[in-house]
Point group: C2
Chain length 301, copies 2
């Protein structure tokens, strides 16, 4: 029997877990991300995955993180301003009609200068700190929008976002380079990374050479795709140097995305550990349960 | 009465001019770019625009530049290797069925190291040199793929391509930034350019701040869009410094795209002139007529 539901509701995906304390009992996901839903469509999208799990005789709390808490989401969970602990003590309550659940949303974090925002990653950071109490250092969360987060004394001190993942996707799928890239060859990654890290200011010039070397030198497509990733991650690591230099780094992500970052950081002799993102999201949402209101009534419309 | 046809056949567009010597008599264009056509569809696409112009009693030569000469085009016009004059003396003949025309394609240029290629811009460079004989310096051709071309003693010495225009289009129309950018505010361009030029290695970090400043500080969309352009052009100028430093620069492009480059170069105290791309394309194709074969029979299939 589940006693709460964990939800990670991003721009493009929804993932939910039926939980008994800290144990996963059910798991489900769908493509009903925030960007595809009007406000009224969030509750049906959630129920489509979880309705069968819900006991009829009580209210099951849902603890959710991610873009559902944005202005265009289900309910706005106003940002907490860094420096601060990754989880504030106020969850935003989303309006629901079904009497079997109440939905509570973790607020994101904002930084005033340089301006920056996150929604979802704060929960992974909280999960990491719950598992590694007293840890100081830098957390790297690669993804569509990679985040570098400086953590000290249990607080997020500062953070910075890089559009590396989104740019990689746009270039490899929608630009002229799409004709030249397919697959993955680790040697290509290392080649691109060294170029990108050494001369990041030449990024815009290097990109077209991927196309030209395919045309003129028959460059292998797997080499080319990994090289593109390496060039971009090299440029990201050059720009994020103030974050990682002299620090230990925890990379949080799925294996396919964490691996190149860990490889790159190891080449720079940065002490690095990798951690599974889903596991830490669940640990963070479990920690956020502490802030559920005592009174488990659904939120009013 | 026209005596030849000029054609600029790019990836996404076809533009044709019915010419009497160096005077434009007719002009037409369509969206039948190279990327949308199979080999057999080129001739119908050309005739759809020009059939009414063609005299019935003779063969009218068509001189064409651009991506129609690529491997995936109408006929491959193999690259000439730099250093070389911008127009080689061999045009590739495209196979045609209609007995009223013969089609001749200007070859592109390639550079072996660093690997680079161009198709179409060599014709603008040739047109520029035809209009400005003896000119030495650097020609900047901004566009989807900006080219920087070092010209000396009538030859293209070297060149480099930057994907600036394509990346601007992808980011402003298809990335998360699309929600934040619309219009144009010159002050935003200057702000972004100075940031991009000063710290090009931070490009990937600056991009997301455009989104964050919209969310947190209500940044104006016209300011944001021009700032994005400025950041990218700043990074391009930082990377192309070996080209423009200590040189005079001719910017060839339509007004809307040449203007920001000219503004940027002027901020760097680089002596710069701007020139109309269409006019120079026509001048270059006119120059290429010298290499038409004496025997004006259509090419065999």
């Amino acid at each position: 029997m589940i006693d709460w539901i964990a939800a990670d509701w991003g721009t493009s995906h929804l993932r939910v877990w039926g939980m008994a304390s800290d144990t996963v009992v059910h798991a489900a996901e769908s493509g009903q991300g925030m960007s595809r839903l009007t406000r009224a469509e969030f509750e049906p999208a959630l129920l489509a995955l979880t309705s069968d799990w819900l006991p009829e005789d009580r209210i099951t709390p849902v603890v959710a993180c991610g873009m559902l808490g944005s202005q265009q989401g289900w309910v706005e969970a106003p940002y907490t301003t860094v420096p601060c602990v990754p989880l504030g003590n106020t969850l935003a309550c989303a309006p629901t009609r079904d009497l079997r659940l109440s939905v509570h949303v973790v607020p994101g974090l904002k930084q005033l200068s340089p301006a920056d925002v996150m929604r979802g990653e704060e929960t992974q950071v909280a999960g990491f700190l719950a598992r590694n109490p007293g840890w100081d250092g830098v957390i790297c969360l690669p993804g569509t929008h990679s985040k570098w987060v400086h953590v000290s004394a249990g607080e997020v001190v500062s953070f910075q976002t890089f559009m590396t993942g989104e740019i990689f996707a746009l270039l490899s799928e929608h630009s002229i380079l799409r004709h030249s890239v397919s697959g993955w060859d680790e040697q290509g990654f290392v080649h691109g990374f060294d170029q990108g890290m050494e001369r990041p200011e030449r990024l815009l010039a290097r990109l077209f050479s991927i196309r030209a070397e395919t045309l003129l030198q028959g460059q292998d497509a797997a080499f080319a795709r990994a090289r593109l990733s390496g060039l971009l991650i090299g440029a990201e690591l050059a720009a994020s140097k103030p974050y990682w230099l002299g620090q230990r780094v925890a990379v949080i992500g799925a294996q396919t995305i964490a691996h190149p970052y860990a490889t790159a950081l190891a080449r720079l002799s940065v002490p690095v550990g990798t951690y599974d993102a889903t596991e830490l999201t669940l640990a963070g949402l479990f920690a956020a349960r502490a802030f559920l209101p005592q009174d488990q009534t659904p939120c009013a419309h």
